[in-house]
């Protein structure tokens, strides 16, 4: 399940829905990314997507994660557009029979989203907007899975 949304979403509600009707699942892992405040007024950041491409690419990658970690299910909710400080940007959820695969797949999906998902992030600080590109650290995180 992939959802890109311009509206704020409730990570708890989405996680509860993901956890329901899972008699065969032993483990659900989740990660929530929040928009850090920078002290500027207005939105903390803005995310641009390429409709029809971004959703499909993320979907393709989630399918890869499901196969690689033998997941029973995986879900991603990602905000796009302007996002206020403290709001959830991203929610990743993974379901597996046991915890290790669920944890690892969640980590893997976040590393992918940080540096390879077709999204463009602009952070707003006191000096205006700045486009964010993957850091050396982000790329090193991604390389762990190669």
């Amino acid at each position: 399940m992939i959802r890109l949304t311009r509206e704020p979403f409730d990570p708890g509600e989405a996680l509860n829905a993901f956890c329901s009707q899972r008699a065969a699942t032993g483990a659900v892992a989740s990660f929530v990314g929040l928009a850090r405040g920078t002290g500027a007024s207005g939105p903390a950041l803005e995310l641009e997507a390429y409709p029809g491409f971004t959703d499909r690419e993320i979907e393709r990658f989630v399918a890869k994660a499901v196969e690689r970690f033998d997941l029973q299910d995986a879900g991603v909710v990602h905000r796009i557009g302007p996002i206020g400080a403290g709001e959830a940007i991203v929610l990743v959820m993974t379901a597996a029979p046991h915890r290790r695969a669920a944890f690892e797949a969640c980590d893997y999906l976040m590393d992918y989203l940080k540096s390879r998902a077709p999204l463009w992030k602009r952070e707003f600080g006191p000096d205006g907007g700045r486009w964010v590109e993957p850091t050396e650290g982000d790329l090193a995180d991604l390389a762990r899975w190669a």
Partner: protein
């Protein structure tokens, strides 16, 4: 004729996000040259590290042909989460 889309900082550098190009050059390389001809900053940005292209919403490998393509997107390094 094709629609050309710019994302992220590429759109900021160019001052536009979407443009119809008619006729469309035969190659991605030709299209980059055309777009950068009157805009050296955009030319430099398009040649920058990590800039990818998508043809009709599929990632392009290297210098793909543009024959029959309706939409070309230039995308700077991606960053979500």
């Amino acid at each position: 004729m094709a629609r050309v889309l710019l994302f992220g900082r590429l759109a900021d550098v160019a001052g536009w996000r979407e443009r119809e190009i008619d006729p469309l050059p035969d190659s991605l390389c030709g299209l980059r040259d055309l777009l950068g001809r009157d805009d050296p900053l955009l030319a430099e940005a398009l040649a920058g590290r990590g800039v990818r292209a998508a043809l009709d919403k599929a990632l392009a490998a290297g210098e793909a042909s543009l024959t029959g393509v309706r939409e070309v997107a230039f995308m700077p390094p991606m960053s979500g989460g």
